[in-house]
């Protein structure tokens, strides 16, 4: 059984990332389940998706303390999910900072030490800067695919399995761009 959480901010494509992982896992013969949030919770708020795959999956929600991977598309959002990581679980984080509304309104402060704190307190942590890759692929919207590319480095599925799922799940005219973004993400992980 593998438990993966994707976390981010509404609009970052968290749900599509989880759908692609589910497709890959199902096609590899696993049972899969996922849980996501819609509606009010999406209006620029925190968004997460839980994805689970294995021989037989019951709960669509991951129990705290049992996630193998938490993939956060934004720096602050990982902080809400750390208690889901199992001991030894891996955090994959994009260092992008998006100010929440209370910070924008001057009512709260975006913590300045997160990068350093995470490196010293989470045993298995990968913090990346997806920005150069996004500039290279010329699309900010490909962030979810870049993050998925990084995650793919650690999962058991082959590049072909990923490619097939991405081809089936993104709009045709964006397939090449997304495959490029995925491979860039995958390469980013192997450089870590």
């Amino acid at each position: 059984m593998k438990n993966v959480i994707f976390a981010g901010v509404g609009g970052q494509g968290v749900i599509l990332a989880s759908k692609i992982l589910m497709e890959v896992a199902m096609n590899a013969g696993y049972d899969v389940k996922e849980s996501e949030v819609h509606g009010m919770a999406q209006r620029g708020g925190s968004v997460d998706c839980h994805v689970r795959y294995g021989e037989k999956v019951y709960s669509p929600l991951i129990e705290r303390g049992t996630a193998d991977y938490v993939v956060s598309f934004e720096l602050l959002e990982i902080m809400r999910k750390l208690d889901f990581l199992r001991p030894g679980g891996k955090a994959i984080i994009n260092k992008l900072q998006i100010n929440p509304a209370p910070v924008e309104a001057g009512l709260a402060t975006y913590p300045g030490d997160l990068d350093q704190w995470l490196r010293s307190n989470v045993k298995d942590v990968t913090i990346v800067d997806a920005e150069p890759v996004l500039s290279e692929v010329k699309s900010k919207r490909a962030l979810n695919i870049v993050m998925l590319g990084i995650l793919s480095h650690y999962l058991e599925f082959s590049l072909d399995q990923w490619t097939a799922a991405i081809r089936g799940m993104v709009k045709e005219k964006f397939v090449d761009m997304n495959l490029f973004a995925f491979e860039k993400g995958r390469a980013l992980a192997s450089q870590q």
Binding site: V9, G10, S18, K19, M22, E23, M26, D31, V32, K33, E34, S35, E36, V37, H38, G39, M40, A41, Q42, R43, G44, G45, S46, V57, Y58, S59, P60, L61, I62, E63, R64, G65, T66, L76, E77, M79, R80, L82, D83, L85, R86, P87, G88, P100, A101, P102, V103, E104, A105, L107, A108, T109, Y110, P111, D113, W117, N121, V122, K123
Partner: protein
């Protein structure tokens, strides 16, 4: 058999398709919206539509059912409140073609104003209810609901929750059945509920519910999974999966047919286990029934009444197991990220002005409810669809002209059409003087951009008449009507000041497209 990863709501749409549902009607509301969107997108043979509200939707579906078609309504939990009037009486008339009501509860109030438990409606309205635990079951149970409806001449409610509606899982696709349209027979004793007809129908439905109680005891929807008999757990919905996850060795009675509850099955189960537990989200609905049958059971003493359940909540309650983590707590505060109005949202211009004028704002249901939060902090009452306008009038009755000259009601385009028209009639009829701002962003935005009677498009994408707010409001008898783009901030402020000051009813139609629309 083709397998597909599906959202619970998509699976329900698929189930309706496979059951040969012909008419599907609803009003958007998280977490139910994707059911009808999926039908309109993928199953075009089904006549699907958004109605102005859930009461209308359920009545349309009742009509299609009586006329002989397998029909389905879909709505969120609070939508069933709006549709409660037809619900209780169409329970009496029963069905001709099947009538299935998909009801989506929202434990945790992820996107709702309350956490009500709509299992109570099944009991109160004497309507059978079934509850799937996963997307795969959501499809199968929906199909079964159509059959039960016709077999027992009852509407059937399928209750899902957010974690069924918005979770994905593998669903096996089946073939579409072919169910012919039934004949419509004129039968006023069944379909016209004057008291003389209602009384015998009441007897009939009590008899049907007794038959359904027997059915519930035999139905595979209620399943005992024997394990260790030291502990037996009765559970339903998504909670079943949490129980299977954290108590894999215990005996489980999975309730899929929620009303009438299977009392014989419950007895058989309760008598066979040493310790009996009920793990259910929301109210102690099953628990109270088990207690009424005379069994000692542990439920809400350890399972929270508030919020939604999670695997760790069930694990802590039943196994006293605390989640493991080797990461220390972060010492500083992590600022929250509440949802907010988008940058450039047309509602934002309006609320900036209302905050500046410091008027009392009676709010309503939609994205704009977020104006209660900083930076606007400009909403002071809100409860349900349409209440902004009626409460606004109540404020004036309680506190007089001074209040009316210092307050407004704000309501979205779709919400106004849903439930705002009658309270505006109330203001005019009863000589109120309040100001109503219709926040017309040309779409039902909050639930993900659905069309409504003012957008000129139907759910199935056809062009249609576009409701004219100015003409409607004038026809109600409001003489002061201004339609204005809120981006003209100075002009908008002048209009608000002027209309609020005027000692007669006024409506400002703030028209600007949602920033997320192309």
């Amino acid at each position: 058999m083709q397998k597909k990863v599906m959202l619970g709501n998509e699976a329900i749409a698929r189930g309706a398709y496979e059951a040969d549902c012909r008419v599907a009607v609803g009003y958007p509301g998280t977490p139910s919206t994707e059911i009808l969107e999926t039908i309109a997108r993928d199953y075009r043979n089904i006549k699907s539509q958004w109605s102005p509200n859930e009461k209308v939707a359920l009545e349309v579906v009742a009509g299609s059912s009586v006329a002989g078609a397998r029909s389905m309504a879909a709505m969120k939990h609070v939508g069933l409140n709006v549709a409660a009037d037809p619900l209780f009486t169409f329970s009496y008339t029963g069905v001709n073609g099947a009538m299935v009501i998909i009801n989506a509860d929202d434990p945790g109030a992820w996107s709702s104003q309350n956490e009500q438990d709509n299992r109570h409606y099944a009991r109160a309205a004497k309507i059978p209810m079934i509850e799937p635990s996963s997307p795969a079951e959501a499809k199968e149970f929906t199909k079964i609901a159509f059959d039960i409806s016709e077999q027992f001449d009852r509407p059937v409610i399928v209750r899902i929750t957010t974690r069924i509606a918005h979770s994905q899982g593998i669903v096996e696709l089946g073939d579409k059945k072919d169910v012919p349209l039934k004949d419509f027979e004129r039968n006023p004793k069944k379909y016209v509920m004057i008291p003389a007809h209602a009384r015998p129908r009441h007897r009939f439905i009590e008899e049907q519910m007794e038959k359904l109680r027997e059915f519930s005891n035999k139905s595979e929807l209620n399943r005992i999974e024997w394990g260790d008999k030291k502990r037996g757990i009765i559970t339903n919905g998504v909670a079943y999966h949490y129980v299977k996850e954290v108590c894999p060795d215990d005996s489980v009675l999975k309730i899929g047919f929620t009303w009438p509850l299977p009392d014989e099955r419950i007895k058989e189960f309760a008598e066979a286990v040493d310790e009996l537990y009920v793990v259910e989200e929301c109210d102690p609905f099953i628990e109270e029934h088990v207690k009424a049958l005379g069994f000692k059971v542990t439920g809400k003493e350890i399972i929270p009444l508030l919020g939604e359940l999670t695997p760790e909540i069930v694990d802590m309650a039943l196994n006293r197991k605390k989640p493991l983590s080797d990461i220390p707590a972060y010492s500083d505060t992590v600022p929250g990220r509440p949802p907010a109005l988008c940058k450039g949202c047309p509602h934002g211009f309006v609320f900036e002005i209302l905050a500046k004028l410091d008027v009392v704002v009676n709010g309503d249901i939609g994205c704009y409810t977020l104006a209660v939060l900083p930076p606007y902090s400009a909403m002071h009452s809100q409860g349900c669809m349409g209440a902004s306008i009626s409460m606004h009038h109540g404020f004036e009755l309680a506190r007089g002209d001074e209040m009316a000259r210092n307050s407004v009601a704000v309501i979205g385009d779709s919400t106004f059409i849903h439930s705002g028209i009658t309270p505006l009639i109330d203001i005019v009829y009863n000589k109120g003087t309040g100001t109503v701002i219709i926040l017309d962003n040309r779409v039902t935005a909050m639930t993900g951009h659905q069309d409504n009677p003012a957008t000129g498009k139907t759910l199935m994408g056809e062009d249609t008449h576009e409701l004219d707010f100015v003409a409607l409001v004038k026809a109600i008898g409001v003489r002061r009507v201004v339609k204005i783009d809120p981006k003209n901030v100075e002009e908008f402020e002048r209009v608000v000041r002027e209309e609020v000051a005027a000692p007669e009813p006024s409506v400002i139609i703030s028209t600007r497209k949602c920033i997320l629309m192309k």
